[in-house]
């Protein structure tokens, strides 16, 4: 136990002192701070414009109604809160001039209304058609159709009641057939799952790196005569895990502080259902991080101990990388349909559970029974992986030269000391 603590604390100190560790963390913090300030930075640049034109975030559309077909009624569009500021003119402007205005950034897009043979032609000009699907957006056609209809109706001289009966008075509501209610924005949750996956994956990968470094620097023999292989594997796993966890907590803390301090009001709550972020979720996420990390770290300890040259690390780690990617995508894609059986399976299957269960909890669809089963399955997996890894590690670490093959590994496990 004393040795375990010595190995773990040495690993922690060694990692924290590394320049690469310090610099990469500073870079991550900087990216987070800058990332959350993007809206503020954009606002700063647009401040001058916005003081002249109202809000900087509104796009600007030029409408050229040369023949005054809409009889001035288009001005009402500016009162309709469509997210666009309309500049309406009855003057004659050549199409090239209009295009120039768009290219120069004076306006974002333009609508040119014309009439020939009693038919109204509308041309919608955008900067680039690539995103348009070769169609004029419905928003534009609806807007103009409804403005034109309103103009014509107003000419009919209808009474208020008649007018009111023409205007539909619908209320729209979205409902689902399944009983379980999914809370939160799935896309944001999938993004968080990706973050958790990378956090677990990279922390676990460090274990493999650390072991191979000890083998390549030939310090292994001194180390195994100083303490048991089990202590080395577990101490290292704990040490790197503690640093990884602290790192993740620091990153999340910086991100949360930035989110509250820097993001425009309402943006955070629109992305995440904040009522779902509870201390229980926090604790469960930490638990799943630890369990997921331990599973993958011990697998990496196994592969790391089978190589003695740094150039072999990549290929030896391949199988673990594949398992982790399968685990992650199983969690990630089934999360698009969180109430499916496959997602329940993903939240219990040990190699995908760490990337899945915390988010099922966040969406409010995980039952306590499922959580308990998934934690038990993970713990059992860790015990099995640990015993196999330690056994193979003990035998493989003194093997220098060529990589240990799968056959050798099976022999080591069978006859291992």
């Amino acid at each position: 136990m004393r040795d375990l603590w010595i190995v773990a604390s040495y690993t922690i100190k060694d990692m924290l002192k590394k320049k690469t560790f310090i610099i990469s963390n500073l870079v991550i913090f900087l990216i987070i701070i800058v990332g959350f300030n993007v809206p503020n930075i954009l606002n700063m640049f647009n401040e001058d414009e916005s003081s002249e034109n109202g809000s900087a975030l509104l796009s600007k559309t030029l409408i050229v109604d040369e023949k005054n077909i809409f009889e001035g009624s288009l001005e009402t569009l500016n009162t309709m809160n469509l997210g666009t500021q309309f500049e309406i003119t009855n003057e004659e402007i050549s199409i090239d001039d209009v295009k120039n205005k768009i290219v120069n950034g004076d306006v974002d897009d333009a609508i040119i209304i014309n009439e020939s043979d009693n038919k109204v032609n509308v041309e919608y000009i955008v900067e680039n058609m690539a995103m348009m699907n070769n169609e004029v957006p419905e928003k534009v056609t609806n807007m103009l159709t409804s403005a034109y209809t309103n103009l014509q109706i107003s000419k009919l001289g209808l009474t208020q009641e008649q007018l009111a009966s023409l205007t539909p008075n619908f209320t729209f509501e979205l409902q689902q057939a399944e009983e379980q209610e999914v809370k939160g924005n799935i896309l944001v949750i999938m993004l968080l799952s990706l973050v958790l996956f990378y956090a677990i994956y990279f922390c676990a990968y460090q274990v493999s790196n650390s072991i191979t470094t000890e083998k390549t620097s030939k310090i292994m023999e001194t180390l195994v005569t100083s303490t048991s292989p089990r202590t080395i594997v577990l101490g290292k796993t704990i040490g790197i895990g503690v640093v990884g966890l602290l790192q993740v907590i620091a990153i999340v803390a910086v991100a949360l502080i930035c989110a509250y301090a820097c993001l425009p009001e309402g943006m955070l709550s629109s992305a995440l259902d904040l009522s779902q972020i509870t201390p229980t979720l926090g604790i469960l996420t930490v638990v799943y991080f630890i369990l997921g990390y331990a599973t993958y770290a011990l697998l990496y300890a196994l592969t790391g101990s089978t190589v003695s040259k740094p150039e072999d690390v990549q290929s030896a780690n391949g199988p673990v990388a594949i398992i982790s990617i399968i685990g992650f995508y199983l969690a990630y894609f089934t999360m698009m349909n969180p109430t499916s059986d496959l997602n329940v399976f993903a939240s219990i299957f040990p190699f995908s559970a760490p990337f899945c269960m915390p988010f099922r909890v966040m969406m409010g669809i995980a039952t306590p029974g499922q959580i308990a089963i998934s934690i038990i399955v993970l713990l059992l997996t860790i015990v099995i992986v640990a015993s196999v890894s330690i056994k193979i590690y003990s035998n493989a670490i003194l093997n220098y030269g060529s990589r240990v093959s799968l056959k050798d590994m099976i022999n080591m496990y069978k006859h291992g000391s």
């Binding site: 040795d3 010595i6 040495y10 060694d14 000890e214 620097s217 023999e221 001194t222 100083s226 000391s417």
Partner: protein, 298 residues
């Protein structure tokens, strides 16, 4: 008291790497483990230290099975290794603590040995900045910092310059004086001859020679004469029918088949009034015995 290795065997797959090896160190001294590359020395050492499982046989220290917790041992592996990017002080303290030392005691011991091996100016540096020889001295300190009873040195002199070799030799003498049991494996026969009272020669896992070095040598007849003269004496040597093994500037090494040949040679030189600067009848060196034994086995 001491280390006892009895009938130890080890097989890798179908290859027998150590076959029925036995020896004993019963007093503070250096025991020499010799052998060609791949003879089974490192495997034997690893089994003694308990980092490799033996197939059969017994290894005991003071009557107890050799295990990390039963024996306080120090080990300088043949594969030299240090953490290249970790401060020397930090890694030494790490190993000292793993071997059960208290921090204050470890610092004291580190200071003593760093001073003794003339590396104290480096202990706050990282090993990647040091020469190979200095890295080796650092690793040597790692092996003995915790004052072990049993010390295993696998090729301790390889890679050291003459000055540092001398320094290390003095340290080893100091360790023996302090009652340490040392097993030393080396290819450098003269260093083994200098330190070891007992030796074991391994070839392909088999013991080809074992015992007290002096007693072993006594079994051999004189086989060479070392001679230095003022003038060329080739003709006298040839007249006696002796073979010159090597000669340079009137310094000769001459093969003989017994002490008698030596006496005949010196008498002949005196008769002819040759001025002799040096004359020595030599017994085979450990190097000769090693080559003969390993050659025989082949």
């Amino acid at each position: 008291m001491g280390l006892k290795v009895e009938h130890v065997n080890k097989t890798y797959g179908t290859k027998k790497v150590v076959n029925d090896i036995s020896f004993e160190i019963d007093k503070p001294s250096v025991y020499g483990l010799l052998g060609t590359n791949g003879a089974g020395k490192t495997t034997t050492i690893r089994m003694i230290l308990g980092i490799l499982k033996k197939d059969s046989g017994e290894i005991s220290w003071n009557g107890k099975e050799v295990k990390r917790k039963n024996v306080n041992f120090g080990y300088l592996p043949e594969e030299r290794g240090v953490y290249p990017k970790t401060k020397i002080y930090d890694q030494m303290m790490y190993f000292a603590e793993l071997k059960g030392m208290k921090k204050e005691k470890a610092i004291e011991s580190l200071k003593y040995w760093a001073n003794r091996l003339e590396v104290e100016q480096y202990i706050n540096m990282t090993p990647e900045k040091l020469s190979k020889g200095n890295q080796q001295k650092i690793q040597f300190i790692t092996a003995i910092i915790h004052d072990p009873e049993l010390i295993v040195l696998d090729e301790p002199f390889s890679g050291l310059d003459p000055v540092n070799t001398e320094l290390l030799k003095n340290v080893i003498i100091e360790l023996i004086r302090n009652g340490k049991y040392i097993i030393m494996s080396s290819h450098q026969m003269h260093s083994i001859e200098e330190f070891c009272s007992d030796v074991l020669i391994l070839n392909k896992g088999e013991t080809v020679l074992k015992g007290n070095l002096k007693e072993i040598k006594e079994q051999y007849n004189a086989n060479r004469v070392s001679l230095s003269t003022i003038e060329n004496v080739d003709k006298y040597i040839k007249e006696l029918g002796l073979e010159i093994y090597n000669s340079k500037d009137n310094d000769y090494i001459i093969n003989i088949s017994g002490e008698e040949d030596g006496y005949k040679l010196i008498n002949k030189l005196i008769e002819n009034k040759v001025k002799v600067e040096k004359f020595e009848i030599m017994k085979p060196s450990l190097n000769d015995i090693f080559i003969e034994k390993v050659g025989e086995a082949k």
